[in-house]
């Protein structure tokens, strides 16, 4: 028994050295801890984002970084589990990294908002800032808002408003179909709320939640949609739950619009393919044809720089905006101290890649930004994921359109 224990202790110490005892040394870069899933079933998103950040950092660092230093990403695998994300957070604070960034999953997001807030309260000498680039739950900048979180992506409610404003006037009957978990439920809730406010002429002929990731055969949903006489299916489904739905609809010859929120997510266009032509729309933060439509050759060139080396599309403009704003805030603050940077970020105004104005609202730390409602068609300059089909903007929900009230009552730090 003892020999094994000894062996185990050795292994333990060796591993701990590897992971915890990295040399502190002189910091010549500004590190950002990046927490996302890189293994397990949700790794595709994390992997793609990591590539995108690599591309974005080239630009941000070429533009001078911040305080004359370059940014460096330190990735941590959270396996899309809050507990793992919190362990990663500990690792990040151990290494005195002042920023933690996370772009997938509201469950992890909620854990980080809470975890960062508690950490900062308990360790005032080692504070961190949580840069939220993909936890979409509306609550995170409303009921659960926190001073230490800055969200650089539109929340569900903003997307809902964009979604409804983009619905054509001739659509009078819609069917809501969403996944039965937090995200799907808040989409359902916000869509109904804003439908009533903005388009009282639209009748909701069906409103349904379906089990998340469990449905194998969507044809009965299609039959139900058909029976309801809906003109459009408004859905927050993504990945498999969306692809199978659209496939089943096309197979059955159901001729309705699919007004989705997330069809443009990576892998979506590939999986849907021609099935989505003329019926699929999505609410995007950016897509490769936006610069063409807005006639911004710089932005187009930047987007093309990504296309040259990848099969996927560059649509993560808010990531770029986030890092640019962060760099500016650090320069303004003159240090990477979390509190100083946070104060500098508040109410910061900026322009994004295509020159649209964005603003980090002080009351709830939600970035106010535009959204592009786009439809899936052949008739575009740049196709999506080499499918031959691409996104074409139908409607731009401007920053002003999406400046929505918040119920956030933020506790601000004393100093």
């Amino acid at each position: 028994m003892t020999s094994s224990i000894r062996r185990l202790c050795f292994a333990f110490v060796a591993l701990s050295m590897l992971v915890a005892g990295r040399p502190a040394g002189a910091e010549d870069t500004i590190k950002i801890g990046y927490v996302d899933p890189f293994s397990g079933p949700f790794a595709s998103g994390g992997d793609e984002f990591l590539k995108v950040f690599g591309y974005i950092l080239q630009k941000v660092n070429a533009d001078g970084g911040a305080l004359g230093k370059k940014f460096e990403l330190v990735p941590f695998d959270d396996k899309l589990q809050p507990a793992e994300a919190l362990i990663a957070l500990k690792n990040i604070t151990d290494q005195n990294i002042p920023f933690v960034m996370q772009c997938t999953g509201s469950n992890v997001g909620a854990a980080l908002v809470d975890g960062v807030s508690k950490h900062n309260a308990r360790n005032p000498d080692n504070r961190v800032l949580y840069l939220n680039c993909g936890a979409l739950a509306t609550e995170l900048t409303n009921e659960q808002c926190d001073f230490w979180q800055f969200r650089f992506t539109g929340n569900v409610e903003m997307r809902a408003v964009a979604r409804i404003k983009a619905l054509p006037m001739d659509v009078k009957k819609v069917y809501l179909l969403n996944q039965d978990y937090l995200f799907g439920q808040s989409i359902q809730h916000d869509t109904r709320k804003w439908l009533a406010k903005l388009r009282p002429d639209i009748e909701v002929v069906g409103d349904e939640l379906m089990p998340f990731g469990k449905v194998q055969d969507f044809s009965s949903y299609v039959a139900k949609i058909k029976a309801s006489g809906a003109q459009s299916v408004v859905t927050g489904n993504y990945n498999r739950d969306l692809n199978l739905l659209i496939k089943a609809a096309v197979d059955d010859g159901l001729n309705v619009r699919f007004d989705t929120y997330l069809a443009h997510l990576i892998g979506g266009p590939t999986a849907i393919g021609s099935a989505g032509e003329h019926r699929l729309t999505s609410i995007t933060e950016f897509h490769p044809n936006v610069p063409v439509e807005l006639k911004k050759p710089d932005a187009e060139a930047y987007s093309n720089g990504w296309r040259a080396n990848h099969d996927t599309d560059f649509s993560e403009v808010p990531f770029l905006t986030m890092l640019q704003m962060l760099a500016r805030a650090i320069d303004t603050a003159g240090s990477t101290d979390a509190l100083k940077v946070a104060l500098a970020l508040e109410d910061m105004k900026a322009t994004d890649l295509v020159g649209s104005p964005v603003q980090m609202r002080k009351v709830d730390h939600q970035l106010l930004m535009p959204y592009y409602a786009a439809s899936f068609t052949k008739d575009v300059k740049y196709d999506a994921e080499k499918t031959g089909f691409g996104w074409k903007t139908d409607f731009i929900a401007s920053t002003d359109d999406l400046t929505l009230p918040t119920v956030c009552k933020m506790k601000r730090p004393a100093s």
Binding site: Q81, Y181, F212
Partner: protein, 417 residues
């Protein structure tokens, strides 16, 4: 017996470990290490309580995380109630209440599942696990949906006046409960119920004909293991101050199984080894490689094929040889195994990393760093080296393993005489 001081020594090491990695530059503890140690503590409880079913009662359960999770949710709600001043319970007793909630649920589900044994039992637990995981996403009042339920562990109600602001205090609380729960679980193995659980595992029919109802034995064992899993869940809630549906979902049940099996189900302490190893892989190795799941999978399969008694079983097999003082004569044979094993390992890790880098990591703008040096994945050399080392290592190991097997057999035969 040497094992008399082994347990106190282990506890002492566990107490001292955070101080070994104290960060003198910043005058604070290594938070990551504390988190990992805390995680190990609760995983030790989870794995041991799982082994109450798999190893001790021969029950293959697929819903163990359900009780872990329910303990976590119960604790979060209780902590919130204490924080709001509705409930005067000191922090130190929280895990007990969590355990009771796990017990309650295990009684409910156990009444259903333990009516059957073997595969039917496993399938019922699979169903339970699916039902609970989906329910957790669907019903917000108790489970809080995907975002889970958060709490604050600084409830200012402690038997010892502790605030639990720092990870160190929490770690010591977890350590105390882990030691306590481990002790209790060990005690259980020495009681009539624990012994009859072993007996029904070996031969449930015989158990009937000496007066025991195997179903009742299974039920009690199941309920008690749910109690301990609940304690683990309570510690989870206290550490992370948030519980989401991940705490009761199937992957955690699978983890419990992996930990118990890799550690060794036939020895009481086996799952402890497994829990420590898997947590290291999950939190440690996953920082170095995203392919950690492959390593776990391959290790698991290798264990199933070559060492079904797990790590602890291998160690136990050395017992008689050690007693006879012949352990020294195994050193050289072991050393001869090390070199081909390293070759095999190197080749395997090389190929897995090269492959996964080529398809997944390539375009991330990173350089593949293997064994301390950058590697060009498009050159032939690393592939040739990896494949060669894998094949040569495997062949050589076969030869050496046969030789080792002979020596081992001779030695055990001698010792037996």
């Amino acid at each position: 017996m040497k094992s008399r001081w082994l347990i106190p020594a282990l506890i002492a090491v566990a107490i001292a470990l955070p101080w070994c990695f104290y960060d003198w530059g910043h005058h604070r503890h290594a938070g990551f290490l504390l988190s990992m140690l805390s995680q190990m503590g609760m995983m030790v409880i989870l794995a041991l309580s799982y082994n109450m079913l798999l190893g001790q009662a021969g029950l293959f359960s697929l819903c163990h995380a359900t009780f872990f999770g329910i303990g976590g949710y119960a604790t979060v709600h209780l902590l919130n109630a204490v924080g709001a001043g509705d409930l005067p319970v000191p922090m130190e007793l929280m895990p007990l209440l969590a355990g009771l909630s796990g017990l309650a649920l295990a009684i409910l589900f156990g009444a259903m599942a333990t009516k059957q044994r073997a595969t039917a039992f496993a399938m019922i637990t699979l169903g339970i696990s699916e039902l609970m995981a989906t329910a957790a996403l669907m019903f917000h009042h108790f489970f809080g949906g995907e975002g889970g339920v958060t709490t604050n562990r600084m409830i200012e109600n402690s038997l010892f006046g502790l605030t639990y602001a720092s990870g160190l205090q929490v770690y010591y609380l977890i350590l105390a409960w882990t030691v306590l729960a481990t002790g209790l679980m060990y005690y259980l193995t020495l009681t009539p119920l624990g012994r009859m659980a072993n007996a029904t595992r070996d031969n449930f029919e015989r158990a009937q004909f000496i007066g025991y109802d195997p179903r009742m034995v299974r039920f009690l064992q199941f309920a008690l293991s749910g109690f301990f899993a609940g304690i683990g869940g309570g510690l989870y809630a206290i550490t992370y101050e948030i519980v989401t549906f991940d705490a009761l979902a199937a992957p955690l049940s699978a983890n419990a199984l992996l930990m118990a099996y890799i550690g060794g189900t036939t020895v009481f302490g086996g799952p402890i080894l497994g829990a420590i190893l898997i947590t290291l892989l999950q939190s440690g190795v996953s920082l170095l490689s995203n392919s950690w799941l492959v390593y776990v999978g391959v290790m698991f399969i290798a264990m199933v094929i070559f060492a079904p008694t797990g790590l602890a079983g291998i160690i136990k097999a050395h017992g008689p040889i050690r007693h006879s003082g012949r352990l020294g004569s195994l050193v050289v044979p072991y050393l001869r195994l090390v070199i081909p094993s390293l070759g095999l390992l190197l080749g395997f890790v090389g190929i897995v990393e090269l492959m996964s880098f080529l398809t997944i990591g390539a375009a991330q703008g990173r350089k593949l760093v293997l064994f301390g040096g950058p590697v060009d994945v498009h050159a032939a050399l690393p592939w040739v080296i990896s494949c060669g080392s894998l094949i040569l290592g495997a062949l050589w190991l076969r030869i050496e393993a046969a030789g080792f097997h002979r020596i081992w057999e001779n030695l055990t035969a001698e010792v037996r005489r």
